[in-house]
């Protein structure tokens, strides 16, 4: 089990992305690195904001790791939400594109471009469900 999010979790996720034919096809026109910001929820075991960074280009994940907030700020896209919202995404309880349109997940960057790549986004979410995951605050 890998703690979500952590370098271990992100690394497993990257391997799944790069092994997915579905993502390679759906994400072949996507260009741009993404920072995923997990907002602090001290009462749920997340004392400070956490940021994961993925460099996704042409259907391939070229890099993935946990980063400092400033590095996340430099990413072309950033998607942020409270940690428990991300847990809903990983558990399949929240459609991420719908979440973005409803403001549950806040996007910095070209939102229409993300919406155009809805199949790629959905495949990424599907792949998260395949990572053996342990959530913070549940240990």
């Amino acid at each position: 089990m890998a703690l979500f999010p952590s370098d271990e979790w992100i690394s497993l996720f990257r391997d799944l992305i790069n092994g997915s034919k579905e993502y390679a096809e759906a994400g072949k026109t996507w260009e741009g690195d993404i920072a995923f910001v997990f907002e602090a929820e001290p009462d749920h075991g997340v004392p400070q904001d956490l940021v994961a960074w993925l460099d996704l280009r042409h259907g391939v994940c070229h890099g993935a790791r946990m980063v400092e907030a400033q590095e996340g700020d430099r990413a072309e896209y950033a998607i942020r939400a409270p940690y428990s919202r991300w847990r809903e995404v990983v558990l399949g309880d929240l459609d991420p594109v719908k979440g973005m349109m409803q403001g549950k997940l806040k996007v910095r960057g070209d939102l229409p471009n993300i919406v155009r790549h809805v199949r790629a986004a959905n495949e990424l979410v599907h792949l998260t469900t395949l990572v053996p995951t342990e959530f913070m605050g549940t240990r």
């Binding site: 929820e41 001290p42 009462d43 939400a81 409270p82 349109m101 403001g103």
Partner: protein, 346 residues
């Protein structure tokens, strides 16, 4: 007379200054019974807004009419009144339509050149232009301390809740439980809100908010969005009142509103910027209301009624009652967050 004067950045003092005189036939002179230090006075205290050394300061006052000019019809010497912090002409199109904060001749007491060079209310006497319009009679039974804030922050809270379109049973989230938030909480409850959530990170403010019926949410310990969702079956608040005036507070206010909800921005903004996906606001069908400065004159009668009826009670926010001569101490206490509200009695 004695009055609080600005001396230099971070320093006020109490000094002897000339008594104000009737300068216009519509003026009144009010002998101040009680005044207060407001958050906006700190802008001048810190030099963020210009005051010349020796200029008087302050804009919250209740007192007794001392003298009136020949065109003043509604007031006479001896009347007990509260002063509006917005000094409006009462005659222009905006004033006649209830938007006195947009008056063609908008002025403020004690705000130097920025406010039309009117004297301040932290003084023994204050000159009030267009007195028929800028004074409100204080009913018997409403003490000075309960009437004072009707001229400013209390009515601002009533205004914020009033324009929000709160329906019976609505969940209202108030971002920022400072003085305006404190009054917005009470006003929201008075117009029928089901639950009022107070979001702040200062324990003292949260305790005051809880004392007037709000559910306190400490955003240093809890994620605001998650906390509000938990109390609204995951929807978010029906109405959100931003009573802070900072970019993070503005974003937080939008975060905690439900789809189709209303966000009232009553906190003061100047040059802040936020990055936003306007399409997301559009898709969420959020109503975003920029309240601007409170048009006190359009709201203070109903605010005074709410005070008289006990629906809005300012007394618990007053932490310090000082003599006018102790104003420098009052500014220090207020500026360093050791006071929630400081009263000054000449």
């Amino acid at each position: 007379m004695r009055a609080v004067v600005y001396r230099e950045i971070g320093r006020v003092e109490v000094a002897e200054v000339p008594d104000p005189l009737i300068e216009d036939p519509a003026d009144a002179i009010v002998r101040v019974s009680l005044s207060a230090i407001c958050g906006s006075d700190l802008h001048f205290f810190h030099g963020k807004a210009p005051l010349e050394p020796g200029e008087t300061i302050g804009h919250e006052a209740v007192g007794i009419v001392e003298a009136v000019g020949p065109r003043v019809e509604r007031f006479a010497p001896g009347d007990r009144v509260v002063v509006s912090f917005v000094i409006a002409c009462g005659a222009c199109w905006f004033c006649r339509n209830g938007q006195t904060q947009l008056c063609d001749d908008f002025r403020n007491l004690g705000a130097g050149i920025f406010g039309g060079s009117l004297g301040g209310a932290q003084a023994e006497l204050v000159r009030v232009p267009a007195a028929d319009f800028n004074l409100l009679r204080v009913p018997e039974g409403v003490e000075d301390e309960r009437a004072l804030f009707v001229g400013d922050i209390l009515t601002t809270g009533v205004y914020a809740a009033g324009i929000a379109g709160i329906r019976a049973g609505d969940t209202v989230a108030v971002v920022g439980a400072g003085p305006v938030g404190f009054f917005a909480i009470q006003a929201a409850r008075a117009v029928g809100a089901g639950q009022v959530l107070a979001l702040d990170l200062e324990p003292g403010r949260l305790a005051l908010a809880e004392g007037v019926g709000a559910v306190p949410i400490d955003v240093s310990q809890r994620n605001a969005q998650t906390a509000v969702d938990e109390r609204t079956e995951g929807r978010g608040a029906d109405v959100v009142i931003d009573a802070v005036g900072s970019a993070p507070a503005f974003e937080r206010a939008l975060d905690v509103a439900r789809r189709g909800g209303t966000v009232v921005v009553v906190g003061m903004y100047t040059s802040e910027t936020v990055q936003a996906q306007v399409g997301v606001w559009w898709t969420r069908a959020v109503t975003l209301l920029f309240a601007g400065i409170c048009p006190v004159h359009a709201w203070w009668e109903r605010a005074m009624e709410a005070v008289g009826a006990g629906q809005v009670d300012p007394t618990s926010i007053v932490s310090h009652r000082l003599r006018l001569e102790d104003a420098p101490l009052g500014y220090e206490l207020f500026d360093t967050h050791r006071a929630t509200k400081v009263l000054l009695r000449p």
